[in-house]
């Protein structure tokens, strides 16, 4: 096991975690957001999990099935999983194959409001084949499945079999993870208590308190005053990084995230259909200076939609070049000429568009303002129309009603680089597809590459396919990749074993191993 | 004796059985209580007649005045102006008739808009009559002179005047409407004797010269006496006696009137009536309103409120003790 289970010097001292959003979903199969993940990973266990190196590590399963250990048949369609016998639920009941079956069946049931059915819907013919063993058959091979299953938390069948159980579960969830539910004050905190019977050891502390602190500035202050030990989600704003480093007894940590911050285009808009326009816009943006000044050198510039920690990341993509003159010339060549008001146009289409992002994010607003000025410089008008999150991510985003947007998106599927929901041409909701291709991006070559990569279990084949996809996306620019998001998390000195993990959506993933140094 | 004005076939103003009951909710926790401010008041005012109304404070004088002006909805009864029933006319329909009657209010400081200059205040009636320009100014100045004020007042705000001057201004405003009837509610109470005399003379003059009718409400018997042709006496909302002035002063026929007259201070003499034996307001519900305080009350007085009945020519009183010989404040003439 990667962890040497060890109690901290002072296991009674609780760890106080500050998050700027409130975890509210305590049933891991229901739709939830990142902040819920941080909690759910500690209450529940999956069959296996992804560690900070990207390796899958067994959790409820004895081993992670693969072709080499025979857990997956050579055609990638027959799977066999063996459970460890000693795992129990928080209420003392053993974790059994029935629970796994129940969980997978929930996800496969179209009537169940599961947060995602990607991959799982391909599973067929599940059966228990031994006291601790089960098998299933895939309707089609699907390489990302292990990564997908790493985020499928197993739920207790005996607690959820009946009507109305789901609602009771929301106030008293029972899992098999390292921590047990210790109570909740809505809008204030959630308390977790160490699970003494945890199958992977004993958590390093007895209690964890997760506090909801909606204002980022306030959260930083509470970190400053020592009211929270760990500042997690949403993190410390870049412009406070220097200040945070000067604190004594606490330190900021740059934790790489799977999110890629960039400017997304809606290619359904006539002004964006010409790749020259997208390229020119990219060229006109002084990305380096933005990263240097507004982002205080905290963020890592990138050209890919994959995080650099991914094994599939292509480091050889052409770098961005800031060259407004080149941008102007490119537009001139493409026939976009400045009109009398200085705004470029072609065939009655003006180079004018709106840009939106979630309101109340000062860094993004500053970046928008800088871009706005830079684009005006080359004859493009960008109007800023930000929206609150609930509006922004509603139909406006999903139905491609935006012109362009400043967003940070995790394009991967778990730790797998599968980004087909975002880039395959048949996955655009605005065109009737099921997926997240809100860019309305369509490139047959990309479509083919995804199909190849997702059905192959051969690492080399997949690496090659994803490298080509990254190159094509970099060339076509349905989104302008600015940087890979670094979350600056804050940690009090003397709290050991924090590990940043780009493969999961929350760095609370190994909270069980955190402990107070002696 | 100047003799009563011969009754006009059609009186200018005629009040028929006017009653007003206020529903007063003293608190959330109590039932609304009915307060009879006026009960079955019947009066006529002829053209060119000055009718005085006296009575103790709260006896309903202002209430009657306001009902006569249709500024207050009567609970029962009717108001006739020039023979026409105006009790149920809408405010809209009433508007043209309002020119004919004007009111001077009891409180001089409350009846002038504190945010307007005197010119603005006096322009309002002229404008409503359609007089404008030089004519308006001319008329304004003439009327001001009538009440003893000069042109210098026009630019000033009401707050810069003394109580007496304000009272004169509101009289001037009423006169500017050129009404046929004025209801003057204690119009001279706040004035010093000199100005009071001016106004009293002015009213007499207007009555003689323009045949103006005046309903003059007051509590200074001397003033009311000097100005009025006839006087009505009210007690607790009920009209208890009505008679030509001299007749009333010489020989009151209602014990309350007698009591009122006896309280009038005269030079060097102060005759205060004995304080009432019972706390006020405790008269029998059906009996005569004055029965609780009346020194002459008989048993019959406690069972029934007597109606206003003629006791002499032009003289009516609501008292069953017609046998009494009550003392007035003027010597008996006969």
């Amino acid at each position: 096991a990667p962890f040497a289970a060890a109690r901290g010097a002072d296991p009674k001292r609780p760890i106080i975690v500050g998050l700027s959003q409130e975890p509210t979903v305590f049933h891991p199969l229901l739709p939830h957001i990142e902040v819920d993940d941080g909690l759910l990973m500690n209450l529940f266990s999956a069959l296996w999990f992804i560690d900070e190196t990207g390796m899958l590590q067994p959790d409820l399963a004895v081993t992670v099935p693969s072709m080499s250990n025979g857990g997956i048949s050579p055609d990638g369609r027959d799977w066999r999983v063996t459970l460890r016998p000693d795992a129990t639920w928080h209420d003392g009941q053993p974790v059994t194959v029935a629970d796994i079956l129940f969980t997978l069946n929930c996800l496969r049931d179209p009537a169940f409001p599961a947060f995602s059915r990607t991959g799982v819907e391909l599973i067929d013919d599940i059966r228990q084949t031994g006291p601790h063993e089960l098998t299933w058959r895939m309707r089609a091979p699907y390489a990302p499945l292990p990564a997908v299953l790493a985020s499928v938390m197993i739920v207790p069948a005996h607690r959820l079999a009946h009507d109305g159980d789901r609602q009771a579960f929301s106030t008293d969830p029972v899992g098999s993870g390292p921590f047990m539910w210790g109570g909740r004050i809505p809008s204030e905190e959630i308390r977790l208590a160490a699970n003494p019977r945890w199958h992977l050891g004993v958590p390093g502390v007895d209690r964890v308190i997760i506090r909801y602190i909606p204002d980022i500035t306030v959260m930083f202050t509470q970190f400053e005053t020592g009211e929270i030990d760990f500042l997690g989600m949403q993190g410390i704003p870049p412009d406070r990084y220097a200040q945070a480093r000067a604190l004594t007894g606490r330190r900021p940590i740059r934790a790489p995230q799977p999110f890629i911050e960039g400017m997304a285009f809606n290619l359904g808009r006539p002004q964006f259909q010409d790749p020259a326009v997208r390229t020119a816009i990219y060229e006109a943006i002084d990305k380096d200076t933005i990263l240097e000044t507004i982002c205080e050198n905290v963020e890592q510039p990138t050209e890919s939609f994959l995080p650099r920690e991914s094994a599939y990341f292509d480091a050889a993509l052409p770098p961005h070049r800031f060259d407004p003159q080149a941008a102007r010339e490119r537009l001139d060549r493409a026939g976009w000429r400045p009109g009398p008001d200085g705004v470029r146009r072609r065939d009655g289409i003006r180079l004018e568009f709106t840009n939106a992002t979630t309101a109340g994010n000062p860094i993004r607003a500053q970046i928008q303002e800088v871009i706005q000025e830079s684009l005006l410089d080359i004859g493009i008008v960008m109007r800023i129309e930000n929206r609150p999150a609930a509006v922004m991510w509603g139909a406006y985003w999903t139905r491609s009603q935006f012109d362009s947007a400043l967003v940070s998106v995790d394009y991967m599927t778990g730790s797998d680089p599968d980004a087909s929901p975002y880039f395959q041409s048949d996955r655009s909701p605005a065109r009737g597809g099921a997926g997240q291709n809100v860019f309305q991006y369509a490139n047959p070559e990309v479509d083919a590459l995804f199909a190849r990569a997702n059905t192959s279990f051969d690492h080399a084949t997949r690496v090659a396919a994803f490298a080509r996809i990254q190159q094509l996306i970099r060339r076509d620019l349905p989104l302008l990749p600015f940087y890979q998001v670094m979350n600056i998390e804050g940690l009090v000195d003397g709290l050991d074993n924090y590990r940043s993990n780009v493969n999961v959506r929350s760095n609370l993933w190994n909270l069980a191993r955190w402990r107070w140094a002696s | 004796m100047t003799g009563p004005v011969p009754p006009d076939p059609v009186p200018l103003l005629s009040l028929r059985g006017l009653s007003k009951t206020y529903l007063r909710r003293d608190g959330l926790l109590t039932r609304p209580r009915a307060v009879a401010a006026a009960r079955d008041v019947t009066l006529d005012i002829a053209r060119g007649e000055v009718l005085g109304i006296v009575g103790e404070s709260g006896s309903g004088k202002s209430t009657v005045g306001r009902m006569a002006m249709r500024l207050l909805e009567p609970t029962a009864g009717a108001v006739h102006l020039d023979g026409a029933d105006i009790t149920h006319l809408s405010e809209q329909a009433l508007r043209p008739l309002r020119h004919k009657m004007q009111m001077i209010f009891q409180d001089p400081s409350a009846s002038l808009n504190p945010r307007q200059s005197i010119r603005q205040i006096l322009t309002t009636p002229l404008r409503l009559r359609g007089v404008a320009g030089a004519d308006a100014t001319q008329e304004m100045l003439e009327t001001l002179a009538l009440v003893g004020l000069g042109p210098d007042v026009l630019g000033r705000a009401p707050s810069t005047f003394s109580g007496g001057q304000r009272q004169r201004l509101s009289i001037a405003r009423a006169l500017l409407m050129k009404p046929e009837l004025i209801v003057a509610d204690e119009a001279v109470s706040a004035l010093d004797v000199c100005v009071q005399a001016q106004i009293v003379n002015l009213f007499r003059h207007l009555r003689d010269r323009f045949n103006l009718s005046i309903l003059f409400i007051g509590h200074d018997l001397a003033v009311v006496g000097v100005i009025s042709d006839r006087i009505a006496v009210m007690y607790r909302g009920t009209l208890v006696e009505i008679a030509p002035t001299e007749q009333l002063f010489r020989r009151p026929r209602h014990p309350y009137t007698a009591r009122l007259l006896s309280a009038e201070p005269r030079r060097g003499v102060l005759s205060a009536p004995a304080p009432p034996a019972t706390p006020a307001g405790q008269h029998a519900p059906d009996g005569c309103v004055f029965s609780a305080r009346c020194p002459h009350a008989a048993d019959a007085c406690r069972t029934r409120q007597p109606a206003l009945a003629p006791v002499a020519p032009g003289h009516r009183a609501a008292c069953i003790r017609t046998d009494l010989d009550l003392e007035g404040i003027l010597p008996h003439s006969n």
Binding site: - | T2, G55, E56, S57, G58, G148, L149, G150, S162, G163, G164, Q165, S189, A190, L191, D192, V193, C194, V195, Q196, A197, Q198, V200, N201, R204, H219, D220, L221, A222, V223, G225, V226, I227, T245, E246, F249, R259, L260, A263, E264, P265, R266, R267, G268, V269, L270, S271, A272, P273, P275, P276, T278, P279, A280, I329, L330, P331
Partner: protein
């Protein structure tokens, strides 16, 4: 009735009141003897209320000059007395209510609308008579009975709104006399009342004078009232005293032309009988405070006016007839006193 006697309780000398540039009252001289009722009459706006407020130190923002000395009552009074004008609030407060009290012009608004009559009376009694608890309660009931309230116990528990105007006026008087003052200034206490209640109130004030020897300044417009109650009459015109006479003498034979005009304008009952309904009036108007000339202020309206002394020089307030020792003086302000005669 107690005859006025002894030294004055209040001696006012050269009292002047002005607001900024406008002088409202100037050179007021008058005395109030022990147990004496002085009626202050005069046209509206002549400064009656202002002067009495000034004496009590209740006129903020005004410039006050002259002197008003309060003497202890007694057969001879004391020599020095207490100067009221310019006395700091801290030192004035103990005098107010105890030595000198005031009833204001409007009885309706002079009582605290949300405290019971009992509470208001008890407060004053605790303050000036040192009474509290039972004793204060008893004294309060006594006072209310004394001012003629029929059900004093019940009245104690009521708030002013539940009382009729006459009752309220009597409560105000009860408050004013609770401290047993030597001097009571009553500013038109009966103007708002009807004649029956007015008569009761006047009777009450006379009784109080008789019982407690309280001196009184009685401000009024109503000459009939003044004649019924006052020992002496002081007439104010345009901020000056124009006549100061014993009541009897005044009503019999006023000497100053304005006083005569006043009496002529008063509506007497005799007029009704005689049928002479027209009241005597004075022509013209009172000059506003800032348009007072150097001469006699009444001159422009005076029938006896002569250009020479009247319009040029202000006449002095002079004795009409030589007052005998202890006899009541009669003063008037007119250049032609002699000629006008009686």
């Amino acid at each position: 009735m107690t005859a006025p006697g002894g030294g004055p309780v209040l001696r006012v000398r050269k009292l002047g009141v002005s607001f900024g540039q406008t002088s409202l009252v100037d050179g007021l001289n008058f005395d109030v003897g022990r147990g004496e009722i002085v009626a202050l009459v005069g046209e509206s706006g002549s400064g009656k209320s202002v002067s009495s407020l000034a004496i009590l130190g209740l006129l903020p923002g005004a410039d006050i000059s002259g002197s008003a000395v309060l003497h202890a009552p007694g057969p001879a009074g004391d020599r020095d007395g207490i100067e009221l004008l310019g006395r700091p609030e801290r030192l004035l407060r103990p005098l107010r209510g105890k030595r000198v009290s005031m009833i204001f012009q409007d009885p309706m608004s002079s009582l605290n609308p949300i405290r019971t009559i009992g509470a208001q009376l008890r407060e004053i009694l605790a303050l000036h008579a040192g009474l509290d608890g039972r004793a204060a309660e008893r004294r309060a009931v006594d006072l209310l009975a004394q001012v003629g309230i029929v059900d004093p116990q019940g009245c104690m528990r009521l708030i002013p709104q539940r009382l009729s105007g006459g009752m309220r006026q009597r409560v105000v008087i009860a408050l004013a006399i609770a401290g047993g003052p030597d001097l009571l200034i009553a500013d038109e206490p009966t103007t708002a009342l009807d004649v029956t209640i007015q008569a009761q109130v006047l009777r009450l004030l006379l009784d109080l004078r008789a019982d407690m020897g309280m001196a009184m300044v009685f401000i009024t417009h109503n000459l009939a009232v003044a004649s019924a109650i006052a020992d002496r009459v002081v007439v104010l015109y345009a901020g000056q005293i124009v006549e100061d006479a014993p009541a009897a003498a005044f009503f019999a034979a006023p000497r100053m032309p304005y006083s005569r005009g006043l009496l002529a304008a008063a509506p007497g009952l005799d007029r009704i009988a005689s049928g002479a309904r027209r009241l005597g009036t004075l022509p013209g108007q009172v000059p506003p405070p800032d348009e007072r000339g150097a001469g006699c202020r009444f001159a422009p309206r005076c029938a006896w006016m002569m250009p020479d002394p009247c319009a040029r020089r202000m006449p002095a307030l002079e004795h009409v007839a030589p007052a005998g020792p202890g006899g009541p003086p009669h003063l008037a302000r007119c250049a032609r006193l002699e000629e006008i005669g009686e």
